[in-house]
Symmetry: C2
Subunit: 211 residues, 2 copies
């Protein structure tokens, strides 16, 4: 737990204000550029108060990161539950669209994630990115395992290789939402094109793994 | 052309020494951290001389980048030519292995590329990464187009979607060579495992696109 108990004793409104200020600061300036001074100014609180809630900038960042991972985990769990009876193809499609929606609903969290991926000099970067990749990899692997039991995936398929492929494609597709220049001439514009592209990718994947 | 004519008038040995010094400096410290002072110290030349060859740090970096893109282009062309008569599956396999070999033979160049991908604050970063992505995307697209003509790919397949998928998988696989934690428990150790993983990925891709 990276926040002190005093933080959880605050009224929810004040907690949200501090979280919002910190998210905005880290999203716009990255881990290294963000300053506690700016965060307290954004939140309209005294610097001394912030240190009553978090030991330092690092603790605050890790607290936000944990929160974000929690939201991502909940999202994946929900999609998994809601699509439990559907074929693999549908499950992948809805997972990918849930990712797009997540980015739209939490643009600051996604920006912080990209900052982390693209920023040097964050001492704990590899651990954090590693945690997210394991989360995503394991989620996809679990969908594949269930699909194998139902006979939707061919016997003898290397599930980890398939999970690796799907994870790589999904992540790159999500990155396109922020960096369309990663696939010039193919990056989707607008929801309709997003759904079309997702359909095409899922089709390729499903044909690759089916019996 | 980012180097001045004076640079090309130097004896090859001296040119190579300067290039090596600059590669080492950028690879170890990134674009922002690298200093012209360290580069001239590594190369054993006077600072004033370096400015006779390159206008500034940026020009020197862009010169190295162009050189690297040139080597990458040559590599892709060679693989394309050498595998011209082979089926798509083989061509993808050899392209991916050529990427692994390229990284092994040019570790500094690959480190500079990763620095660029993972470093904020490089003013021209998006352009440079974009250039490399287009290079890779177009290469894969051309393999798919040839495969389509030969009937190895199903009619109606969205070639750009397939190129996007293959490009994403290839790049992530190459990144694993430097960051095994991106796929814990699956990252290959040693050449034999690399070849095995490549085989598995290419198999998934080929099944996804074939008629």
């Amino acid at each position: 737990m990276e926040a002190k108990r005093t933080f959880f004793n605050l009224p929810e409104e004040k907690r949200e204000k501090i979280i919002k200020a910190a998210l905005e600061e880290f999203a716009s300036k990255g881990w290294k550029g963000a300053s506690v001074n700016s965060i307290v100014a954004r939140a309209g609180i005294a610097k001394g108060s912030l240190y009553q809630y978090f030991r330092d900038k690092r603790s605050l960042f890790l607290f936000l990161f944990d929160k974000a991972v929690g939201v991502a985990k909940e999202t994946l769990k929900r999609v998994k539950r809601q699509t439990a009876e559907k074929p693999l193809r549908e499950r992948l499609r809805e997972s990918l669209l849930a990712g797009v929606d997540f980015i739209e609903r939490h643009p600051l969290l996604y920006r912080i994630y990209l900052q982390l991926v693209f920023e040097r000099d964050v001492p704990f970067r590899q651990d954090l990115i590693g945690r997210l990749r394991v989360l995503s990899f394991d989620y996809i692997l679990s969908l594949l395992e269930e699909a194998l039991k139902r006979g939707e995936v061919r016997e003898g398929l290397d599930l980890k290789a398939a999970a690796f492929l799907i994870d790589a494609v999904m992540e790159r597709f999500l990155q396109l939402q922020a960096f369309p220049h990663l696939a010039p001439g193919w990056s989707p514009k607008g929801r309709e094109e997003v759904e079309q592209r997702v359909e095409e990718l899922v089709d390729l994947i499903e044909k690759g793994v089916r019996p």
